[in-house]
């Protein structure tokens, strides 16, 4: 093989190319300038210039969530690195595969408080799967190889590569070799699930009379949606998804109970509480699911399938722990179950499914609000989501920010496919939606990409409207404008005697239409219900334009159901007055 000599910066970009990276998001600065020059001199990896480093990391994250391929962001040292932190924490909490490359001051300046120096490895340590501080230029190819391997295997997650500026010096060249394989004695993600445990799980499944399949983000991340659906169909068991797991099982399928947890559907939460068997797949019994773990599904045996051994029995004891990837474990389980007697408790399971359907009829979400028109002259936020669903045939990529609008989107847009719903579930990062949508739109230029947001969240990364103009990204921003931090206000209504401490803006909101138009995009304002559907149609129809649809919604609407804090999953507020207990 011919020896190719490259500088550290050239080696970095070429390594990214060899990893299959086609685009990356970033923001230049002193410590990263050698790298930026290397980007300029090649045509393999396209660089998208964001307006803030947080946007770069969220965009890389959105790209990763939509495609399943690792997303890449590049930032400079100091403030560039610290601005990337929220993005890293977001990716860490939702286990998304991203690689963040940060420039660092020259190695001889490290530790001297030099200009734009910050200890990136130190500040990012608790929120990365792993990180590398480059010690010499020649190590860059093998570190990139390892970084992508770590980010995209096992329980996925963000990896940081911090590169002191002298190691990207264009004057210093070395023989470039890209390793074909990674071998790390200290890292071996779990492979096949234990056959014995699979058999034990099948035994419990045979005996189940009130089963629930509860699946999370791990199924989407591991592309195991097909296997999950096959399992559910084979068994005729009801399915619920976490906020991160939506789309893993078709949202419009009658076996689907909707999302569970804090703002999960009545039937999903009731089913969990009353189940005799919970099959958890790629989900981690988060506190927004279990409510009080001591009162969680006390009569249910738990089978817990997860690729991360530390997630199993962390919060809730697993009767059958299965450590392995969702895809392999589910395949093995399906294979085993096909040899079992699944008719044993057919009539009980039919009765159970009927019970769930009765729960749904009694207190399920109302999916025909749109047909019912304005309530007290106001547009309900749920109606906007229903209109969006209708206009996009349920086929759009939906990103969201964090708050009431996020919950309404999760509840009312029925996601039929994995990777269609992209939101910050674990960290709950306001400002995620728009930059994440940029990553999705760049990965899928011909698809409809919608960012469902609120007037609070959108202002946290609104500068990215400029990036969208530069790269011609026709994202549809649907702003559920209730002129308040809706979720904060809801909690203040419910738990703080209606004292709206710092949750409203006192007429200081910008004119979003004018603001959007100043960036060269299209802004549309809707204040009356009668204009909603036409405006939605127009927004979606404007294929080549970014549209900011600003909809005034009922500021007093709350998200329901809502679990009563510190109690079991059957304790829910169903509306402002009605609760399932007392």
């Amino acid at each position: 093989m011919n020896k190719i000599r490259k500088s550290g910066a050239e080696a970095l970009i070429h390594s990214l190319h060899l990893e299959g990276v086609e685009l990356m998001f970033g923001y230049p600065g002193g410590a990263a300038l050698h790298i930026y020059d290397a980007i300029f001199k090649q045509n393999h990896v396209e660089h998208i210039l964001v307006r803030h480093e947080q946007g770069a990391v969220h965009a890389a994250d959105g790209y990763a969530r939509a495609t399943g391929k690792p997303g890449v962001a590049l930032v400079t040292s100091g403030p560039g690195a610290t601005n990337a932190i929220t993005g890293l924490a977001t990716a860490y909490m939702d286990s998304t595969p991203i690689v963040v490359i940060s420039g660092q001051v020259k190695s001889n300046l490290i530790g001297t408080d030099s200009f734009q120096e910050t200890d990136m490895i130190g500040i990012s340590r608790p929120i990365v799967k792993h990180s590398f501080l480059v010690q010499k230029a020649e190590d860059i190819p093998s570190i990139v190889k390892k970084a992508f391997h770590i980010a995209s295997t096992g329980r996925k997650g963000p990896v940081v590569i911090d590169i002191p500026k002298d190691f990207t010096d264009p004057e210093f060249k070395f023989d470039f070799n890209y390793p074909a394989k990674v071998s790390m004695r200290s890292y071996s993600p779990p492979e096949k699930a234990d056959t014995l445990k699979i058999k034990e799980a099948a035994g419990l499944i045979e005996e189940a009379k009130r089963p629930v399949i509860y699946s999370g983000g791990g199924v989407n991340q591991n592309n195991a949606s097909g296997e999950l659906t096959e399992l559910a169909k084979l068994l005729n068991f009801p399915v619920t998804n976490t906020l991160m797991g939506l789309g893993a099982f078709p949202g419009s399928d009658p076996q689907f109970m909707g999302m569970l947890g804090m703002h999960g559907t009545y039937q999903a939460n009731m089913a969990m509480h009353n189940a005799d068997l919970i099959i958890a797949v790629g989900a981690r019994f988060d506190d927004r699911i279990t409510n009080d773990p001591k009162q969680f599904a006390l009569n249910a045996k738990k089978i817990h399938i997860d690729v991360d051994p530390a997630s199993v029995s962390k919060i809730i004891h697993a009767d059958i722990p299965i450590v392995g990837s969702a895809k392999d474990s589910l395949s093995a389980l399906i294979k085993e179950l096909k040899n079992r007697n699944l008719d044993k408790h057919q009539s009980e399971i039919a009765k159970w499914n009927k019970q769930i359907s009765d729960w749904k009829d009694a207190h399920g979400l109302n999916h025909s609000l749109l047909e019912q028109g304005a309530r007290n002259g106001k547009i309900l936020p749920q109606q906007v989501i229903q209109s969006l669903y209708k206009e996009t045939n349920g086929e759009a990529f939906i990103t969201s920010d964090v708050g009431q609008h996020q919950m309404f989107a999760a509840q009312y847009y029925h996601f039929d496919k994995p990777r269609q719903w992209i939101n910050s579930g674990g960290l709950g990062t306001m400002g995620f939606g728009l930059p994440a949508a940029m990553g999705v739109q760049l990965a899928f230029p011909d698809s409809i990409v919608v960012c469902v947001t609120g007037e609070g969240s959108i202002q946290m990364c609104i500068q990215e409207l400029s990036t969208c103009l530069q790269y011609g990204l026709p994202i549809k921003i649907i702003n559920l404008n209730n002129a308040a931090l809706g979720m904060v206000k809801q909690w203040q209504d419910m738990q703080y005697g209606g004292r709206h401490s710092s949750s409203t803006y006192e007429n200081s909101l910008p004119d979003f239409v004018a603001l959007t138009e100043s960036y060269g995009h299209v802004g549309i304002k809707v204040s009356e219900f009668k204009d909603l559907e036409a405006a939605m149609k127009e927004s979606i129809a404007l294929k080549d334009k970014l549209v900011f649809l600003d909809v005034d919604v009922d500021p007093n609407e709350h998200v329901y159901p809502m679990l009563e804090a510190g109690n079991a999953m059957d304790h829910m507020w169903l509306d402002k007055e009605k609760k399932t207990w007392e």
Partner: protein
């Protein structure tokens, strides 16, 4: 309940901070911590003692095992093991409790002070300190626990 965890990790910059950071990040206590390179210079062996019930220790070992720099980790309490700690004590020469120590315990002395060295289980060292009566040492330094399993099992990358 006190537990002793031993682990092997890559002997490289940042590895120790990941291990120590994990404890504060996840709210676990570290009682003692000892770390030194092994005979294989690319590896360090770290021994820590911590308080926690079965479930907490299981979580700690799992989380430690997830760290990329950690090569292997074991809860020594899963089988019989030996735990030892080194203690150095400094006494004023004129109040040194001579009858409690032998000459071989003395590691240095000058006109003013005597330093002694004791090795034992942590509880034996605790007991020794409590038994010194009326002539308190002016300084006590303890190493923290080291541990090794009593049977033939070893913490090594070579098996």
């Amino acid at each position: 309940m006190k537990r002793v965890i031993a682990l092997l990790m890559e002997n490289q910059p940042g590895a120790l901070s990941r291990v120590v950071g994990l404890f504060s990040q996840r709210g676990y206590n570290i009682e003692t911590l000892v770390v030194a390179p092994t005979d294989d210079p690319t590896l360090s062996r770290l021994t820590m003692s911590t308080e926690g019930d079965e479930k907490v220790v299981e979580q700690i070992t799992k989380q430690l095992d997830k760290l990329i720099d950690v090569v292997m980790v074991t809860d020594l309490g899963n089988s019989e093991f030996v735990e030892r700690e080194l203690m150095l004590m400094k006494f004023n020469k004129d109040s040194f409790p001579q009858d409690m120590f032998s000459d071989s315990d003395v590691v240095s002395k000058d006109n003013d002070v005597i330093n002694i060295q004791v090795v034992g289980t942590p509880s034996r060292l605790d007991k020794l300190i409590s038994e010194i009566d009326g002539s308190d040492p002016i300084e006590i330094v303890r190493s923290g626990s080291l541990g090794i399993s009593s049977d033939k099992s070893v913490l090594s990358t070579e098996n």
